[in-house]
Subunit: 201 residues, 4 copies
Amino acid sequence: MRYKKSEISAAQIIDAAIRVLARQGYARTSLADIAREAGMSKGAVHYHYSTKETLIDQVLETACNAVQEKTLNAWSNAESPFASLRSSLEALWTARAERTDEALVVADLLAQSLYDDKLRPRLAEYYRLAADQITEHLTAHFFALGIRPKIPAELLPRLVIGLLDGLVMQHFVEPGVLSPEDVVNSIETLAFSLFELPQPA
Amino acid sequence: MRYKKSEISAAQIIDAAIRVLARQGYARTSLADIAREAGMSKGAVHYHYSTKETLIDQVLETACNAVQEKTLNAWSNAESPFASLRSSLEALWTARAERTDEALVVADLLAQSLYDDKLRPRLAEYYRLAADQITEHLTAHFFALGIRPKIPAELLPRLVIGLLDGLVMQHFVEPGVLSPEDVVNSIETLAFSLFELPQPA
Amino acid sequence: MRYKKSEISAAQIIDAAIRVLARQGYARTSLADIAREAGMSKGAVHYHYSTKETLIDQVLETACNAVQEKTLNAWSNAESPFASLRSSLEALWTARAERTDEALVVADLLAQSLYDDKLRPRLAEYYRLAADQITEHLTAHFFALGIRPKIPAELLPRLVIGLLDGLVMQHFVEPGVLSPEDVVNSIETLAFSLFELPQPA
Amino acid sequence: MRYKKSEISAAQIIDAAIRVLARQGYARTSLADIAREAGMSKGAVHYHYSTKETLIDQVLETACNAVQEKTLNAWSNAESPFASLRSSLEALWTARAERTDEALVVADLLAQSLYDDKLRPRLAEYYRLAADQITEHLTAHFFALGIRPKIPAELLPRLVIGLLDGLVMQHFVEPGVLSPEDVVNSIETLAFSLFELPQPA
DNA sequence: TATGAATGAGCCTTCATTCAT
DNA sequence: AATGAATGAAGGCTCATTCAT
């Protein structure tokens, strides 16, 4: 078999944890909640992850990867650089705004990381990977064509991510206030402005 | 007597709570911690705020107001619209990135609000006020001069706030990654691009 | 004035306490509840009764007296001994079963007295007085006529009171189970049997 | 293993609770007291009974059953109906007056039930069972012989119980005031009077 | 005489963790 | 590999009591 039985259980626990954390948030989630959701005893959870810290750590890694993977698909379709940019932005926004369990967990643990030194490096890596994804795309479709932005190239992805993350929080706090269309349109306009390209018709 | 004894104590508790929350985060802060920081007994805290919820509510309001007030000063100096914009952006960034207790508390409780219906409205109002502040400035210094952005005017403040908030989280997670200068420069450039103005020399 | 202001307040507290105790029971009643009901501060309650114990003691005395007084009227109407007996039994039953605040408080504190040495003597006196009341009546209307019961005369009142108290608890626990008519009828029959008198037509 | 470990512990807790409640009364008994008496941690008590309510409920049931069972033996010895009646009354009285832990707990929680809707049904059942026990005996030994009381047959057991309960409270409040002999004698006399039987020599 | 503020012990409950099985 | 039982430290909250005013 592909995974040992033990590994299956361990993964089930992580999945259950993500579900519960997405539903209740870190501050209100106990190991008992997670065990119940995973259909196991508290003891079993401790068998696989000896501390809550270890478990949460693993949860964060899994959740980050999941979000990352989801946005990865965004960059595949190649058409024109412009069409590609738009569909990518759309995907990046959706992956965050959709309230998937994983995105919620990342958002919640992001805040936890302000006070938890163990969590912070993982989030830093998450940001780095996300930025790299964007950089890669920009390099292939814009920089390679000689199209350069008005701001430092290494800063651009950080801005995009920051903008998306910040907007998503506003979206969560007051769901109606930002229409997805407006968001994507605006970011697109912004991107074009930065690249000194004429707005597409 | 300027303030009643009771009001002083109540305010001391809020201040202590903000200090402790900024240090430890909501999930790790108990009423006992707050009482200790305030130099009072747990009972006294309960005397002034019958519930942890009530207290946190008040804390959030105070913290939001503090952050708001800090950025309010940003808009005062009038010179040219451009100089004003830059100094304002700088102030907005600093107010958030400086790791003041209040800004940290707002960031933390923002995440809590994902799971706490009582907190959410307060944060929504916070966003609204912040957006209004920006709108007001833009109206006076840009719209009034006939300078219009390429994106819907009511969306612009939301983008600015989103961008700042999002960047600040990256800054918190990995302190070195964004230099304040770069951030402000970039946002300024971005703003100028959006307004179709030539970059100042 | 008849009462000093202080005495009025003290009495108001007792009355309030009886109302609250009747509503919530001793185990669930705090001094704060009583103060609130009395429209005073907790401090004021403590000014008049320095401990909860003192207050409860006073409450019990007042409640006992109230119940006693209520049954006292029962013995007034003199007609025939038999008619008098019946109406008296009726009054005794009603005073207990009616769920007046005072009767409830006595019933509740009676149980407390099992564990509280301070309360017990008061209850003992209450029983003694109630027994005396009955004895007096029996002496005047029966013994004086040479009608003697089959059981020791000094035990009879105790039996009557016990019977009433015991039945009243059943009545409280399951309100429908004993009709007041049945109860009075039965006790009357019982009394007549004890006195070897023929049942009245 | 005859009993599971868990069941043993659960039973030990109930037993400990009965002991403590009998000693201190409901109003003065905390879970910590019970845990200490049971030789366990507070956490263990909560492991077996998730709520104080649940625990008290179980305690009441156990105590009621214990009292019931004790009086059950009273009805076994069959000799003559008259001798049987007397010995039964004696047993009924003793079971209540002896100050067994269980009887005290029932008496205390009986009072609590005035303010606790969860407790009341259990006590109602307790009364019903006790009444049934008596009815059964009366049916077998008196009604079956054509001996009928002067009062409604279904009321008779309620009167007996009420009388015993009420007398027991007097007995608890002032231990010396009622000699067991007197009580049983009187009730016996009372019973004979009700059945229109000649007093035995 | 009365209040408002404060205390500290104690209450019920939750929870991460341990451990024998 | 997993469970059930148990622990003990907190956690939020209640409450009788004290005391300056």
